[in-house]
């Protein structure tokens, strides 16, 4: 089997939780995270601006056999549907890869990590933020 490349960055053009972060800043955050975790950062792919499109994420999942993993800018970039997210986690782990989120500094490197990530997403869905 050919040597796998490093971790592909995954950034977005849609607001997350109502906030917008410039794409070059998202890349800086991912690059910094990759450096601190000793991951080899590969140029980021940018998800579509169209609401509900995860076409670029699907391309990254197709690329997994040649990668060591994916570093998302934020875990909140993942699809809102829990079943679809679980399919993504399964696919990442099945390919021998891992999935990181740079802002939240969390990672799924085994099935045991999924619950912590899902907790973050669920709490964010139901808890309100004081303005």
């Amino acid at each position: 089997m050919a040597e796998r490349a490093g971790h592909r960055g995954y950034i977005g053009a849609r607001p997350l939780n109502g906030s917008r972060t410039p794409q070059h800043v998202q890349n800086i955050v991912i690059r910094d995270y990759a450096r601190r975790k000793n991951l080899q950062y590969l140029l980021s792919a940018v998800e579509h601006v169209m609401p509900g499109s995860y076409m670029i994420l699907e391309d990254l999942l197709d690329e997994l056999p040649r990668l060591r993993g994916i570093v998302c800018y934020s875990i909140f970039m993942l699809p809102p549907d829990e079943n679809r997210r679980r399919e993504i986690y399964d696919r990442v782990l099945r390919e021998g890869c891992d999935l990181h989120a740079a802002v939240e500094e969390i990672a799924i490197t085994s099935k045991d990590d999924i619950r912590a990530v899902e907790d973050v997403l669920l709490v964010n869905k139901y808890a309100t933020i004081l303005s």
Partner: protein
């Protein structure tokens, strides 16, 4: 019928071609400037690879695949583009390469992307491909154009492809039913146009149209640069004024207009 048009016939022809084909190629307005960019790119590449500077920059660039591996390609690319962007003359020169076409298609009050980009496609290398996309899908405004400048001759898979405007809308309508960009590529493949031009030419293209590249199956390495331009006052998307674009030709009437205040103090 009036005997005097607002546009010169040659300008109108360029505009018509851009609307119909989605791109226009033309010899560089500033050939000396283009040669300067090509020479500096070759010098920076030679520095990175610890080679002597070459008197044949195009030859060095086209054969760089014999001196660099795909693993080291991004290091080389970053070294060259960082060095080029550090040259204060780069962006004015880049603008001058296509000034007449930009002004015909976009206008003469412009902003320009702050950093010029560089792509390098080694023959048979699948590690740095750009999947089918429209720049608008990743946060660019539909009011932008891309100025694409090859530093070598480009043809067939050594170039980039573009989906013509005549079919772009129909293909976009099918997009939501497709899973990945690769599926999208297979759907649009029969309709694609490969943009071919010799070194010395530049291209201005409509980045709302689907475009991308594939594995370079030709013998030489492709080197191309790209940079976005838009009319200053046209709408912005995620790539904002200030952080992504900066003005290069703000005209006096606009400056005056932006500072003007109507007389105040009336109490009637």
């Amino acid at each position: 019928m009036i005997d005097t048009a607002f546009q010169q016939p040659d300008e109108q022809a360029v505009a018509d071609r851009f609307v119909k084909d989605g791109f226009v190629t033309a010899p560089a307005d500033d050939r000396v400037g283009l040669d300067r960019i090509q020479r500096r790119a070759a010098e920076l590449a030679a520095d990175y690879l610890r080679l002597p500077h070459s008197n044949e920059p195009q030859e060095l660039l086209e054969t760089i695949h014999s001196r660099v591996s795909p693993d080291d390609l991004n290091g080389l690319r970053m070294h060259v583009i960082t060095g080029l962007n550090a040259e204060p003359w780069l962006r004015p020169t880049y603008f001058r390469l296509a000034r007449s076409t930009i002004e015909t298609i976009v206008g003469n009050e412009l902003c320009m992307q702050r950093r010029v980009n560089l792509s390098i496609q080694l023959p048979a290398d699948d590690s740095s491909l750009l999947a089918t996309h429209s720049d608008v899908w990743s946060g660019d405004s539909p009011f932008e154009v891309v100025v694409w400048v090859p530093l070598v001759d480009v043809f067939r898979t050594k170039s980039m492809y573009l989906l013509p405007p005549s079919v772009n809308g129909e293909m976009q309508d099918r997009m939501a039913s497709l899973r990945s960009a690769e599926e999208l590529y297979k759907t649009i493949k029969p309709h694609l146009v490969w943009c071919e031009m010799p070194y010395g030419h530049v291209m201005v293209f409509n980045q709302t149209l689907m475009h991308g590249n594939r594995v370079n199956e030709e013998k030489g390495t492709r080197w191309s640069m790209n940079c976005r331009f838009k009319s200053i006052m046209s709408p912005y998307a995620d790539k904002r004024f200030g952080e992504f674009f900066e003005p290069i030709s703000l005209r006096p009437a606009t400056r005056i207009g932006m500072q003007y205040k109507l007389p105040g103090g009336f109490h009637g």
